[in-house]
Amino acid sequence: MSSTTVKSSSAKPSSAKPSSAKNTLVGWLMASPLVLILGCFLLLPIIAIVAVSFWASTEYSYFPAFIFENYEFLLTSPVTLSVYIKTFMFTGITWFLCLVIGFTVAYFLAFHVRTLPMQIGLFLLCTVPFWTSNIIRMISWIPFLGRNGIANNALQDMGLIDEPLEWLLFSDFAVILAFVHLFTLFMIVPIFNSMMRLDRSLIEAAVDAGASSRQVLTNVIIPLTKPGIMIGSIFVVTLVMGDFITVRFMSGGQSASVGRVISNEIALLQYPAASASAVVLLLTVLIMIGIMLRFVDIRKEL
């Protein structure tokens, strides 16, 4: 390896430098554990799912075949469409709320908190609840939001409402609340990271040039934290699209998302049907992420 190549290499995997045969060999060798693991536990399983989605099944087993019935049932059922609409609704609202909250919190931490230890301290404060089991965090909303829960009791004591609010629990509201609660952190981290990397002199330059703080925000900070926003959005979107457990707990089993339909099918041993649903979900998610990636070159921005 000549020293000139080294010098010009700015660790960005995308930079299109001609790769020498030796580099390629060493590179593949070093990446081989990674490729091996992802090959065995990501690629092969997905291939298996695609294959099984064409298989036939009985009550208790599934066996090789080449039928389209699973897709046919899936794509002709009116419920599929309504489930996808519901899932998109959950995803959209959750994404929006996570973005607004996540951005505001990251903005506060990055630009309004002045010392680094304080920034890190407050940031860690946001990450701690993330360490309790997700399931326990979810079900602990139940005593909070229930008909006789803290929220309703407090509101009634304050005289704001006469009757307990029914829609607080076992509703779409509860589902979205739990999503925002669980996933906002995934938005905060990358945005905060982008903001901390942002060159402060750019802001000062903008201020010196007479920009108002709103202009600084919209013309400097937001464009420059776009990669963080995108990465956070990708996290939130994929997490919500694939979720099945939050929807089940928080809707009291009454709402369905795509993930939940799949998990029900798995539970009922309908693996081929579940696989077909999974393939459609995967394609949907890939398309969504593909569109999002058009707005940002994730390889360059990391």
Binding site: S61, V79, E166, S251, Q254, A256, A273
Partner: protein, 435 residues
């Protein structure tokens, strides 16, 4: 790999088990080894202490107390894994190597038996076979009883031989599951929040309880509740609730989907615990419920009634099945365990929780006269009734809802069911949940 897992206390057994298992896998060699072992009773008695049997099932009966008692009475180790009923079905059907004993319900048995992961049991090796209640043998509680609709336990209780795949109607001597636990379910209500008489399944969809009703989200059970309701409402008359036609399934699900869209249900539940919490927190005032769940609500000081209804009960039963991979010493240990299971201690334990034992006569020896009177005979309790953990369930003078064993189990209208059109039903049920 096995030896690396799990807790320290059990690792000794796991180790020896791991070796054994590997040997057994080798087939021919294993048969020889096992033969030698069973041939020598002395060695057998020592070796059986090194056996570990892995049992899985729902939390209802996969109790650590049972495992502890097995260790104490029989000397070998029983590892318990408690799962929800979906995972139970899944494991029984797809992971035969992950268990030795399956503690499953009869409708699950109907579903997974054809997968061939379980082996039939020789009833001549079951000491208390003749004392098992008729429900599990010929389907009849009393000689003149009418057999209820649905997957009645006896109908999937026997196969035609040790390798049998087909269920047979008569007592063939080869049992699929050894019955252990069963009960009759009905609507549970909060009398304090309802304030009037409830006497029919139709009340579940009564708009009066809008947003305060609930139903069980396990398709094979939920569909039967739904059928009881639709029949009671006079909306549908079924040929056979336990084996519906596609049209009947569609109609039933349409009625329930409509109710769901109108906001009749507060939530759906999947487990014992959820039903208890829904009821005790007042989220739900009327729902199909299991008898011990009602007891659990009541033990928190909250009024809750197991409401006998004029249409009768929906019943369920569970039992122990043996993995087809069991052989030799482990198979012997499994029979030993099953015989012990039916010999009364577990029966008494389960009865004091509000379930019924498959061999009531042996359980009686492990219950006080007052307990027997209260739980089984439907008599007024003389003193406090406590559960196996010592929690007081009822004060003196209480009478069990629904009365005696005969009154309850004698009025079963249907069993949890797996129908011919089950796959269709499951898809429709899934749509109902998603609607």
């Amino acid at each position: 790999m096995k030896s690396k897992t799990s807790n320290k206390a059990g690792s000794k057994y796991l180790n020896s088990k791991g070796t054994q298992r590997r040997t057994l896998m080798k087939g021919a060699a294993a048969t020889v080894a096992a033969g030698t072992i069973t041939g020598a009773p002395l060695i057998w008695a020592q070796n059986i202490k090194n056996v570990t049997l892995r049992q899985f099932g729902t939390g209802v009966s996969n109790l650590n107390d049972v495992a502890n008692k097995v260790k104490e009475d029989l000397g070998f180790t029983l590892e318990m894994t408690a799962l929800d009923s979906d995972s139970v079905t899944q494991r029984a059907a797809t992971q035969p190597k992950s268990f030795d004993i399956a503690d499953i319900e009869y409708w699950i048995c109907k579903k997974v038996w054809p997968a061939g992961n379980l082996q039939a049991m020789d009833t001549s090796k079951i000491d208390n076979y003749d004392n098992i209640v008729g429900i599990f043998r010929n389907g009849k509680l009393n000689p003149d009883s009418v057999i209820a609709q649905g997957t009645a336990p006896h109908s999937v209780g026997f196969v035609d031989g040790p390798e049998g795949k087909e269920f047979v109607d008569e007592e063939s001597g080869w049992m699929t599951l050894i019955p252990t636990i069963y009960n009759a379910d009905t609507l549970g209500i909060r009398p304090d929040l309802i304030g009037r008489e409830i006497s029919t399944w139709a009340e579940l969809l009564n708009p009066e309880f809008k947003g305060k009703a609930s139903i069980l989200d396990i398709s094979s059970i939920g569909i039967m509740d739904a059928a009881m309701v639709c029949e009671a409402m006079g909306e549908i008359s079924y040929g056979d609730k336990g084996n519906m036609t596609r049209e009947e399934i569609d109609k039933t699900m349409a009625i329930f989907t409509e109710a769901k869209k109108n906001g009749q249900f507060r939530a759906f539940w999947k487990s014992f615990d959820e039903s208890v919490n829904l009821m005790s927190s007042g989220e739900v005032v009327i729902q199909s419920m299991w008898s011990p769940a009602i007891t659990a609500v009541r033990s928190k000081g909250i009024p809750c009634v197991y409401q006998p209804l004029k249409e009768g009960y929906r019943s369920w039963g569970g039992g122990l099945g043996l993995s087809k991979n069991l052989s030799g010493l482990e198979l012997d240990a499994a029979y030993e365990y099953i015989n012990w299971y039916l010999s009364g201690w577990v029966g008494g334990y389960l009865m004091r929780q509000g379930y019924y034992s498959a061999v009531p006569s042996t359980s009686k020896d492990f219950m006080s006269e007052d307990e027997w009177g209260y739980w089984f005979e439907g008599k007024e309790s003389q003193g406090e009734i406590v559960n196996p953990q010592g929690v007081v369930l009822e004060k003196a003078g209480a009478v069990r809802d629904g009365g005696s064993f005969e009154e309850r189990m004698g009025r079963v209208a249907c069993w949890n069911a797996v129908m011919d059109e089950n796959q269709y039903m499951v898809r429709k049920w899934n749509e109902f949940i998603a609607a």
